[in-house]
């Protein structure tokens, strides 16, 4: 399609951030008004901590190991919130006639995506609250103020790549396909990334694969933030690389999307 130069001055589209905040605010309101959707995501990691970590006194009573275990599950909570609310959420929204309508408004993909990202990061923080409470009350996990601040900074770093992957899945697939793909992505990534079993328990070959995965890089950076245990040297480049790749996939998926696949 050709684009000719506008014959008269064209008014400017709305600035990016106010629009992104508007989308984030209304996304949040929509999610909060159907809280059961989010509760599931908040509960699973908390239950895993309660049933698999708390009873193992060797883990629960060692402050460093307990903190690492809580952090691993925290990483999983963030990852699963992002993949579900974005992968499945976007696919479901896209099937509603309101989505193509929003695409006719004078704004590109950016503000809406940014609004979704802000909303996702907020829910990622909320997903950590039950874990932090159980960890503090029922294990010896410790989080001094400095490390807690570091953890707060690390959450978006962990959240953003998975959220973008979710968006890429959501814009490529129908909601039924998206649920399957999210599950098929989430659990292998979580396991191989050391979010259920610590990577110290991995055989050498799995450890090598694991270090190339975004879930492992995210886990090690999160554990470094909460315990001071140094992440492997490539963790940051690996996570940044996946983030860039997922961002490109998300943008391509949004661009090629024309709403529902049938007329």
């Amino acid at each position: 399609m050709t684009t000719t130069t506008a014959p008269r001055p064209v008014a400017r589209v709305r600035p990016f951030w106010p629009l992104a905040l508007l989308h984030a605010r209304l996304n949040f309101i929509e999610t909060v008004r159907i809280p059961i959707a989010v509760l599931g995501n908040l509960l699973f990691p908390a239950l895993a901590l309660l049933f698999f970590v708390v009873p193992q006194r060797a883990v629960a009573e060692d402050p460093l190991v307990a903190t690492a275990a809580v952090t691993q599950l925290g990483t999983f909570a963030v990852m699963s919130t992002c993949l579900f609310t974005f992968g499945v959420g976007v696919a479901e929204d896209r099937a509603l006639p309101f989505d193509p309508y929003l695409r006719t408004l004078p704004a590109g993909a950016g503000p809406r995506l940014a609004g979704r990202v802000l909303n996702g990061v907020l829910w990622a923080y909320l997903a950590l609250i039950p874990l932090v409470l159980i960890g503090a009350l029922l294990t010896e996990a410790v989080l001094p103020v400095g490390r807690a601040l570091a953890a707060v900074v690390v959450v978006p770093l962990v959240a953003v790549p998975f959220l973008l992957l979710g968006v890429a899945i959501g814009y490529r697939m129908s909601s039924k396909a998206a649920i399957a793909v999210v599950q098929a992505t989430l659990f292998p990534l979580a396991f191989a990334g050391g979010l259920f079993l610590p990577p110290e328990a991995f055989p050498t070959w799995l450890d090598a694969i694991s270090k190339a995965l975004p879930s492992r890089a995210a886990r090690d950076l999160a554990v470094q933030a909460t315990t001071g245990y140094e992440a492997y040297a490539w963790a940051v480049p690996v996570l940044v690389g996946w983030t860039v790749l997922f961002a490109v996939l998300a943008a391509l998926a949004y661009r090629s999307d024309e709403g529902r696949r049938f007329r």
């Binding site: 399609m1 050709t2 684009t3 000719t4 130069t5 506008a6 014959p7 008269r8 064209v10 008014a11 400017r12 589209v13 709305r14 106010p18 629009l19 508007l22 989308h23 209304l26 309101i29 929509e30 008004r33 159907i34 509603l96 006639p97 309101f98 989505d99 193509p100 309508y101 695409r103 006719t104 408004l105 004078p106 704004a107 590109g108 024309e258 709403g259 007329r263």
Partner: protein, 322 residues
């Protein structure tokens, strides 16, 4: 005049189906255009190209001189969501804010809801609105951003008569404020009530594009009404100039409605039969009758049950369209 909207040789296919076939169309500032056609004619596809939702396979679409796929071109554009798709958990006021936030100079909640008589619904979640209220909100959303071009897809489908007239008046008022309005409908009364210019679409092509009166006149059909005594054996449909004829029993005789291609010839022939007819009336055909005559020639006849029982004898409609 400024061209608000321009399509040049636009073709769009979905698999084996050609939804739009080499369509060219221009809309100038201040027009009120009705896009009329049966379901599947390509109206919605045309709107989705104009609003930047889809790309044409070939050809050019320009909105205010720019590419509708670029957000800046859409600042002057207002469209309606389908009323079934409003975010159910958000309130009316929140949805208005969400949409208005995309435009440089939006109407306030009070102004836009006031135009559509919905001020008292501002705190209601959209999921709790009635069908008619949702429909009104959907059309209100098209105007929130004070667009210079409003696209409306079937704006009053499913509304009762009163709600329809409120909505029509709101659209006439907005058009009178200087906006350009393009609306699609398969609902003929709606186009007759609102549009100044009518574009008839069928089978992915433009079958007619002219003023409301001209489109009706285009097929040259006139409706001739007359009453014959019950004893008369005359079939007015068989007279020269007649196209089709139908009769109903009427007090003391039969009331005939004849669609005539040449009303003058028909009336002369009728007088020549010396039948004692009464209450002769000659009128222009309704848009519906013109529309049926056009679409049955446009390849979209299958969508229209009324088209099959009409027997066209010649090609003058097709010629009129060229």
């Amino acid at each position: 005049m400024n061209t608000v909207l321009e399509l040049e040789h636009v073709t769009r296919r979905f698999g084996a189906v050609t939804a739009l076939d080499d369509v060219s169309l221009g809309v100038e500032h201040g027009e009120l255009v009705g896009l009329l056609g049966p379901n599947g004619a390509g109206k919605t596809t045309l709107l989705s190209l104009v609003s930047g939702l889809r790309k044409p396979d070939s050809g050019t679409v320009r909105l205010f001189g720019g590419d509708p796929r670029s957000a800046a071109s859409r600042i002057g554009l207002g469209t309606t969501p389908q009323e079934t798709g409003l975010p159910a958990t958000l309130t009316v006021g929140e949805v208005v804010d969400l949409v208005g936030g995309h435009y440089p100079d939006p109407m306030s909640r009070a102004e836009v809801l006031g135009r559509f008589g919905m001020t008292d619904l501002v705190k209601r979640q959209t999921g709790g609105l009635s069908g008619g209220q949702k429909r009104r909100l959907a059309v209100a959303l098209a105007l929130v951003g004070r667009p210079r071009l409003v696209l409306l897809d079937e704006p009053t489908t499913g509304l009762d008569v009163e709600a329809r007239h409120i909505l029509w008046q709101a659209l006439r008022d907005y058009h009178a404020d200087g906006a350009t309005v393009v609306l699609t409908s398969h609902y003929l009364e709606e186009v007759e009530a609102l549009a100044e210019r009518v574009v008839v679409v069928g089978g992915g092509r433009i079958l007619a594009d002219d003023t409301l009166q001209a489109v009706i006149g285009l097929v040259g059909l006139r409706r001739v009404l007359l009453t014959l005594p019950a004893s008369s054996l005359l079939d007015p449909g068989a007279l020269p100039g007649a196209h089709t004829a139908q009769a109903d029993d009427h007090a003391g005789g039969r009331r005939w409605t004849v669609l005539a291609e040449d009303a003058d010839t028909f009336v002369r022939a009728l007088v020549g039969t010396e039948e004692p007819f009464a209450d002769l009336e000659v009128r222009g055909a309704s848009l519906e009758e013109a529309f049926l005559a056009l679409t049955e020639r446009g390849g979209a006849a299958g969508a229209d049950p009324g088209a099959t029982d009409r027997s066209r004898r010649d090609d003058d409609v097709e010629e009129a369209l060229r």
